[in-house]
């Protein structure tokens, strides 16, 4: 875990010196399992800043929601840094207006897995290297940290922020890209009927609360396709056509833009798995165009970088 004091010191400095107007980070929530995104506007508020493995949101989501001119400091992990880069590529924010406090990420913990293991009465969660020390009503329990990570975090390739203005803590070892590839290929190896059955089973739990959309930093459209009235692009209700259409198109709109942070899946109140969809698109972008979203703040995603050379790519 990166040193919390070092993060606070840096955040204080940014605010005190007027480098930024606001620092976006986390603060403690009502329970230890739910830290909240928080906006610090003065140095003396920064003592409330926290950072741990349960901070489950992608803070880059808030980048498009603060006033466009404001200078923003942000605590970023690898995925958040990539999201920021992707947003800069799409001209949603000037990189010069940002100050990124980078923290290498050991993976985000799934509070539901923890609660499923130790029960509801979690009083505190201490992270200690590879272990988790959980205090409940019944006493202390020592758990293996890796078992309680979100699936998308287990597959993470770049845990380190690549373009942070300051890195706090030691850079971690890069993840194994084969894990993501294997995940996609294992899914692809199933029969087409099984794949559809899986997709159907996941999609039909959808209640269309759009938490996945709202949690996603790349879903910043003023008007989403599902809200469009004339023409109405998809069925509006929680019907099979509506639910499947939503999941297909939401994911597809992320092609070449999704940074595999998994915030959509973590936000879903119905535990719908959806990173397997965007993972496939990311996989294809890597294989076909050698592109990974958010690795730098300049490269346009494949769909925005069409050239006539493409004629060699596709068979006539």
């Amino acid at each position: 875990m990166p040193d919390l004091n070092a993060i606070r010191t840096e955040a204080k400095r940014l605010l005190a010196e007027g480098v930024v107007d606001v620092v976006v980070a986390f603060k403690a929530g009502e329970t230890p399992l739910h830290p909240q995104p928080a906006f610090f506007r003065s140095a003396d508020e920064v003592d409330q800043l926290v950072y741990d493995g349960l901070c489950q949101n992608n803070l880059a989501t808030f980048l498009t929601r603060v006033p466009k001119q404001s200078k923003v400091g942000m605590v970023v992990r690898g995925c958040e840094n990539r999201s920021v880069n992707a947003l800069v590529v799409e001209k949603q924010k000037n990189r010069a207006d940002l100050f990124l406090i980078g923290v290498p990420c050991e993976g985000i913990l799934d509070w539901q897995k923890i609660v499923g293991e130790v029960g509801e009465t979690v009083k505190s969660v201490k992270e200690n290297g590879q272990n988790l020390m959980i205090e409940t009503k019944a006493g202390y329990q020592l758990l293996e940290r890796h078992d309680f990570l979100h699936e998308s975090c287990k597959r993470c390739i770049h845990p380190n922020p690549m373009s942070a203005d300051i890195l706090i803590g030691e850079a971690l070892q890069e993840g194994d890209p084969n894990l993501a590839r294997t995940a996609v290929e294992t899914f692809e190896d199933q029969t087409i009927e099984d794949r559809y059955a899986w997709f159907q089973k996941e999609a039909e739990r959808c209640i269309r609360c759009y938490a996945c959309r709202q949690a996603c930093p790349m879903c910043y459209c003023e008007e989403c396709f599902v809200d469009h009235i004339e023409p109405r692009w998809s069925e509006s209700g929680a019907t099979p056509a509506g639910m499947q259409g939503w999941h297909i198109v939401r994911a597809f709109h992320q092609t070449g833009r999704c940074t595999s942070c998994g915030a959509c899946e973590r936000a879903c109140p119905m535990d719908i798995k959806m990173t397997y969809l965007t993972e496939k698109l990311n996989h294809d972008m890597r294989e076909k165009y050698n592109f990974e979203p958010g690795l730098d703040a300049q490269t346009q995603p494949p769909f925005a970088a069409v050239t006539l050379d493409d004629k060699n790519r596709f068979s006539v």
Binding site: I192, R195, F225, A241, I248, F252, L281, D284, T307, L308
Partner: protein
């Protein structure tokens, strides 16, 4: 007699078929083929394709201009990038890849579109009617979704 496969045909209005072919497409298309003309294949939103698929199309054919002959320079290329990926993606979740076909045509390709459609129809016949992702059917009585 079994029903013929339903095909959604998207045609770029700039892609110049030979006049006789174009007339055939415009006026004599068999009933199982539904034609949508777009200003360019680049204008084909993946949502159009999804709409066709959800609405029960057994196959989707997208017919555009040859490379370097797009009226909008790279519209057909952009479409290929997007729609080919969309096709792969639909395949990933259960709509067979072979049900989507791209055709690039030119003025000189006389009689090709008919042949392509016939061949596609034959292949779709072999595949059987599509059922995966075909969800926009008449809603069941009650429509309960509790």
């Amino acid at each position: 007699m079994p029903e013929k496969p339903k095909i959604a045909l998207f045609q770029c209005r700039w892609c110049l078929y030979a006049p006789a072919d174009q007339e055939w497409v415009d006026t004599q298309l068999p009933e199982n083929i539904h034609l949508t003309k777009t200003p360019c294949t680049g204008r084909i939103n993946p949502l159009y394709v999804l709409n066709a698929v959800q609405g029960g199309a057994d196959g989707v054919m997208i017919s555009g201009c040859l490379p370097e002959q797009c009226h909008f320079k790279t519209g057909n290329m952009a479409a290929r990038r997007q729609l080919e990926e969309f096709n792969d993606f639909l395949d990933y979740i259960g709509y067979d890849k072979q049900r989507v076909r791209f055709v690039w045509l030119d003025l000189q390709d006389r009689g090709i579109i008919q042949k392509q459609l016939a061949a596609f129809e034959q292949e779709l016949d072999d595949l059987g009617p599509a059922s995966n992702l075909v969800t926009r059917v008449k809603v069941a009585e009650g429509g309960q979704n509790a």
